[in-house]
């Protein structure tokens, strides 16, 4: 999630590097307070996800970033959301990078989404979960 740069930086945000360190479409993992966090810039903003698939705990940050197929008529494929989806390396379950929600409601639960911001050329992170209704 991206904030206006004029807003003050919340006190729990930590500078994790220049924005150039986070190329669009490439998930970068960081270690923070003993946890692995995946940070990625996409066409819709910058996102930070936990490294645990809600299905069986797979290391989802090692999954591929991709798009997905939209609901369609039989035998038709409509590819969408390119770069906005991460697919778990264990069982292939797909999740929205912006919300952590399972694509198509395939799995109960969601990938943890953390607070991350880009401002003044820097990326700031907080180990603070973003509620589902505001992710």
């Amino acid at each position: 999630m991206t904030r206006l740069e004029a807003e003050p930086v919340p006190r729990d945000l930590v500078d994790i590097g220049p924005i150039e360190s986070f190329p669009v479409g490439r998930l970068i993992t960081i270690e923070f307070a003993g946890r692995t966090i995946g940070v990625i810039r996409t066409g819709t903003g910058i996102h930070a996800i936990g490294n645990r698939c809600p299905h069986q705990g797979g290391p989802i940050c090692r999954g591929i970033v991709t798009g997905t197929m939209a609901p369609s008529l039989p035998n038709e494929y409509v590819y969408e959301k390119d770069g906005e989806i991460i697919r778990c390396p264990w069982h292939g379950y797909e999740f929205e990078l912006s919300t952590g929600q399972s694509v198509g409601g395939a799995v109960r639960g969601r990938v943890a989404i953390y607070t991350v911001e880009a401002r003044a050329g820097r990326v700031y992170f907080a180990l603070r979960r973003v509620p589902a209704d505001s992710a």
């Binding site: 197929m69 369609s72 039989p74 797909e94 694509v103 395939a106």
Partner: protein, 336 residues
């Protein structure tokens, strides 16, 4: 009301069908290898239950049956006929016989026979008979093409348009006649081995209806798999959902877990009810799968009576015997 969705009917002499054929077709069929095939009964899965063993024409549903759906099983065997032109003349005659003899439009109704080898023709037959009160369902034999193939869309559209459920019942020639679907693993030597394995077909075609998108495409479509048993449904539903979760992007037309389509649009008949072994198997008990089972006597072929169902299922028997989802309009009296 007790509904028997699987009451078998048959002619004891194929010559009885001649009055429902043109003179030309009658002359074509007037040969011993056709007329005599009832006597020989060689095509049926239970070789000891020859078609002619008893006069099925007189096989009436018991008095406790409020509504029965006759399945003319001789017509199902056309899935293995080499001559599909003659097959259509044959099941056309059987449909006419159903209309005039086996069904009365009240407590005794019949399934319209169609062929999987000519969906366009089958759709016309469904529409021709769809409004006739003698018919309450469509009997679609299985071919080697899975039901989730869009080539069957004309049949599904006609069934939805006429508000008739599909009844899928094996003919007995599956697994050894070309044109009928094979059974997995290979060709078994005996009819009883094939009979044991018939549930494979229902599982396979239900998976196809789900992943092919048929059930999603036609939400009003209702499909009853009859004679295949039912105890396998919970594990099938679980496996369908598991694979869908992983490969949803390969079947984006399946918009929710496949089991939800099954538990909304698919039913299984209860025969053989002893598959439930004196009570519902643990996986079935209280499950959504249990609620998909409707009564099918399979009579007179070693069938289950109402008493058999009550003996096995106890207090749950009434739910199975009177479940209305397959024929809601008929049971509500809206399809007089």
């Amino acid at each position: 009301m007790i509904v028997d969705y699987d009451r078998h009917v048959a002619v004891d002499d194929y010559a009885r069908l001649f009055e429902h054929m043109s003179q030309s077709w009658r002359k074509h069929f007037e040969r011993d290898e056709f007329v005599g095939s009832v006597r020989d009964g060689a095509a049926h899965i239970r070789l000891t239950d020859r078609f002619g063993d008893e006069v099925l024409e007189g096989s009436e549903p018991g008095q406790e049956i409020g509504l029965s759906v006759a399945v003319p099983h001789q017509g199902l065997t056309i899935n293995g006929w080499a001559d599909q032109v003659a097959a259509k003349a044959f099941i056309g005659a059987l449909n006419s016989h159903s209309e005039h003899v086996w069904a009365d439009g009240g407590a005794r109704r019949a399934a319209i026979l169609v062929t999987p080898h000519d969906p366009a023709w089958s759709a016309r037959v469904i529409r021709d008979y769809g409004a006739a009160r003698q018919f309450a369902a469509v009997a679609l034999p299985l071919s080697a093409v899975l039901l989730g193939s869009e080539q069957f869309d004309p049949v599904y559209e006609a069934a939805v348009e006429t508000d008739l459920p599909l009844i899928v019942h094996f003919s007995g020639v599956e697994g050894h006649y070309l044109g009928a679907p094979p059974l997995s693993g290979g060709v078994h030597r005996t009819a009883y081995a094939r009979a044991v394995l018939m549930p494979q077909l229902a599982e396979s075609h239900i998976a196809s209806l789900c992943f092919g998108g048929t059930l999603a495409k036609y939400p009003p479509l209702r499909v009853l798999f009859s004679g295949f048993g039912f105890a396998w449904l919970p594990s099938l539903a679980w496996r369908l959902d598991r694979e869908w979760r992983t490969f949803r992007h390969d079947v984006p037309w399946v918009r929710k877990p496949p089991s939800e389509y099954v538990f909304d649009q698919v039913w299984l008949s209860s025969w053989p009810v002893r598959e439930a072994a004196a009570e519902w198997e643990p996986l079935l008990a209280g499950s959504q799968a249990q609620a998909r089972v409707v009564y099918g006597s399979h009579a007179p072929f070693d069938g289950d009576t109402v008493a058999d169902v009550r003996a096995v299922l106890g207090a749950d028997a009434d739910d199975v015997l009177g479940r209305s989802g397959v024929l809601p309009a008929v049971m509500a009296g809206a399809r007089a």
